[in-house]
Symmetry: C2
Subunit: 510 residues, 2 copies
């Protein structure tokens, strides 16, 4: 390494792409990279094939992974094989396996071979797309992919790049909600927000009691504070936002001199996949001049299927919309697709232009600089994985994947309904089933029934075969089974149901 | 696909990890994934080996990449080879090649074989580390890697996880600055911020006139507004923040009833790698009870070398600190390492706990849930690439990489100094050289000299062999040559200098 450090004309020993001299300090020559890369690809393929042998939920106690790692980094580089071997020893036992066919927790964060390969290309290229000029393809492929997605979901024209809108990849729906909130406040301020901040105007944010926690967090980050967040009541049957309650909340705030900035409606709430009445909410937003953001983080993917597009009715009133291809559309985390109807307003709210980022093509206004569409400055070439997924599966393959999840969930719900010890708590058209052991005539104590349901969840998760999570609906403990991992087949859902009924039989034994 | 869509017990045809049946809809079987994965690895190796054949800066005009892509996504899945072939046809011509040895623009965003392979493992595992329980290894490897980095940089003990502090990976220094700003306001508010937001307290933020644009953007996002941002004067010679000017600014704001929240000091400014006097600034922050965040996005990596640690003097006064391994430490974007001295305060500021994320181990307080350390909820397993890099290179390899960049820059600065047509604008100990054609006795017009320098930059960038960017120092157009790509050798820096002197000779010809 000495020669390298002193800057001689010798190739930097062992740097990737450098000479094929023996590597120094654990660097890999290009040939070694090929060998190591093939080994990693094979390791992943083996991992995928062995997924069912692992317990879904990690069984390691807190600190176990930490203890398996040295307390200090190595002084000398280590051979690649040693690193790869430690994956099996240290990492895999400490994983909760999101790609396991028995993973039914939260919402899926599924991925696929095309996504992994697209992401690998992105890592290898190592370009940074903060500006159009720092890699035009990084920006333009992203714009086209978001237009493709808009077609696949049949989103309103206003979100497409040949109209006044456009799409961008955010890391997550949380960040999409934050960005929407910022532009909404910018609009509500009449353009004073960039300079004056949120001070003294009492900006307010509206979502339903079922809205995602990131909405409250976005309001906090934006300096609005929880005092400015209104959790609008829902219809107790559907758990969807009540438009009349929204209107009342808006009126109350306006009467108190506050400034309503944004309504976040949800298509497919996290708790139960409830669907807010976007069309009615959109009319109210138009009437009051309030920004409407629609958060379809999980359920948006369903709109690739024409038979499920009714869930997106009214979207033409939205100022912004997002969903996560990284949840249910076979694209690895992170990949949130976020659209706005007015890209100029978004850029106006978020742009900052220091001298060191100035360049002729940006000044010409002929290009999109995505740094102005997000919180961070830098950005990866995430559109590549989307490109690989959309081409690898095609529209038909994506629809098949969504229909598969819906069919599995629907089959599971049928089993639940057919067993009179259980109840389906909320009906949903997607791939989530919320269910629980129902209150028995001889068990009047709701808290006790909740405890039995909690024990049921603990017991099936302890099996290692499945992982489900929970929510509370109307205060009551409720199990959630969310389908979406690409390897989940009917037999896995059937096995889950068998585990659940066996555990229930045990727990309900007098 | 029909069987799959209907949820039969047949394996989902062609889903990765499924059967090895012929794939439907462009899905890849596991064996096909192996073959395609090997092909992608080889494609990347070939790309790295061919880097010098490409012009550094993309030559495609706006819209060229878009026009090379179909207007609509395919209905049927496409074979993998067709997708891979389009990389060369559509993507590569539209890239600015950040890994090219002649890339001297901005700051480096370098990557390496170990980083790419660690990231590939992360993509293959597809786990989501929002909570400890959603993959304990994702959280614990990250905590250990940030402790390793703290040792490598010899950061103060207070930032390490066995003290009250700890580290976390953010996507970028922009996000680290935002998070620091939020916790700082939380502290400055006396705990009222979460509820009341930034309303009516006149929070203020301080950085130097040379601070990164993300500081202003963070203040805007946080609802403080640009009205609350103070750009403190710098020493005209060093471009480092003047502590006396900071003190004056704090006094003026306090006298006006405002509430100073955070000072962002910089180690290695983006424009010229100026180093703020962190020790003196830290004393002032302690005296005034203001949060001190230190942004060493690019230059932090230098602290792996003991001989450059003087640049980090005074850091023991900082409440938070960040640097980007994705800039100059061989780790692919995105990977910003962010530390706080008091992790409890950070979590208190950012946590939100809905029912669907509750779990026993979180409730026990025994673990770290990194979702509470950042803006988004979800997170990738980014610590893997860091683990691969730190082990693959070892401390020695990382030091050699940094020393290599410093030696190249130092050699280049010597050439500039030896040519009396040029001047080195600011001295810097890192791997950035700021330089320009000096004002000639016969050219009194500064604007004209600036134009000549601008033409010089355009001309050398048009060669395709190198890419440099610019800044303005004291209003004057200045070229920046930033070394850091792992493939950059002395000969590339020498070729850059030759291009520059040849162009200068042409431009200065009477």
């Amino acid at each position: 390494m000495a020669a390298h450090a002193q800057g001689s004309d010798q190739p930097p020993a062992g740097h990737p792409g450098g000479s094929d001299q023996p590597p120094a300090g654990g660097h890999l020559s290009t040939d070694e990279f090929r060998r190591a890369g093939h080994a990693v690809v094979d390791w992943i393929a083996d991992y995928w094939q062995s997924l069912e042998k692992h317990p879904v939920l990690a069984a390691t106690p807190p600190g176990a992974v930490t203890r398996a790692l040295p307390a200090a980094p190595p002084e000398q580089g280590e051979p690649f094989d040693a690193i790869l071997a430690d994956l099996d020893r240290v990492v895999v036992p400490g994983l909760t396996h999101w790609q396991h066919p028995g993973f039914f927790g939260y919402f899926p964060a599924n991925t696929s071979a095309p996504s992994v390969l697209g992401d690998l290309v992105s890592a290898g290229l190592g370009v940074q797309g903060m500006l159009w000029t720092t890699s035009p393809a990084c920006t333009e492929v992203e714009t086209v992919m978001l237009d493709w997605l808009a077609q696949l979901l049949d989103l309103p024209d206003r979100f497409r790049s040949h109209h006044a809108g456009g799409g961008v990849i955010q890391d997550s729906a949380s960040s999409a909600t934050l960005v929407a909130t910022l532009v909404a406040v910018h609009r509500a301020s009449g353009g004073t927000w960039r300079d004056a901040g949120t001070a003294s105007h009492g900006y307010t944010v509206y979502t339903s009691t079922q809205g995602h926690s990131s909405i409250e967090k976005a309001a906090r980050i934006a300096g609005i504070g929880e005092r400015g967040v209104r959790l609008v009541e829902v219809d107790p049957r559907t758990l969807a936002m009540r438009p009349d309650a929204l209107r009342s909340a808006l009126n109350a705030d306006l009467a108190a001199g506050r400034r309503p900035a944004i309504v976040v409606a949800t298509i497919g709430t996290t708790s139960t996949t409830a669907i807010d009445p976007v069309a009615e909410i959109g009319e109210i937003c138009a009437e009051y001049g309030v920004w409407l953001h629609v958060d379809a983080a999980y359920a948006g993917a369903a709109a690739v299927c024409p038979e499920l597009r009714w869930t997106h009715a009214g979207l033409e009133r939205a100022d912004s919309y997002c969903f996560d291809p990284h949840k249910w559309l076979l694209t690895g985390f992170d990949c949130d697709a976020f659209w706005v109807a007015d890209r100029a307003e978004l850029v106006e709210a978020l742009t900052v232009m220091p001298e060191y980022l100035r360049n002729a093509v940006t000044d010409s206004g002929a290009v999109v600089d995505y740094r102005d569409w997000q919180v961070p400055l830098g950005r990866r070439f995430r559109a590549l994985k989307l490109w690989f997924v959309l081409r690898g599966y095609g529209a038909q393959g994506l629809r098949a994947h969504v229909r598969c999840g819906v069919a599995h969930a629907s089959w599971f719900a049928e089993q639940v309904r057919a067993d009179d010890r259980f109840e389906v708590v909320t009906p949903g058209p997607f791939s989530l089933v919320c269910f629980r052991l129902r209150d028995q005539p001889n068990q009047a104590d709701a808290a006790l029934v909740d405890q039995v349901n909690e024990s049921l969840l603990d017991r099936i998760n302890a099996s290692g075969q499945v992982f489900l999570t929970h929510t509370r609906v109307d205060g009551r403990f409720t199990l959630r089974l969310a389908v979406g991992a690409p390897r989940t087949e009917r037999r896995h859902v059937a096995a889950a149901w068998e585990l659940i009924t066996d555990a229930a039989t045990d727990l309900l034994r007098p």
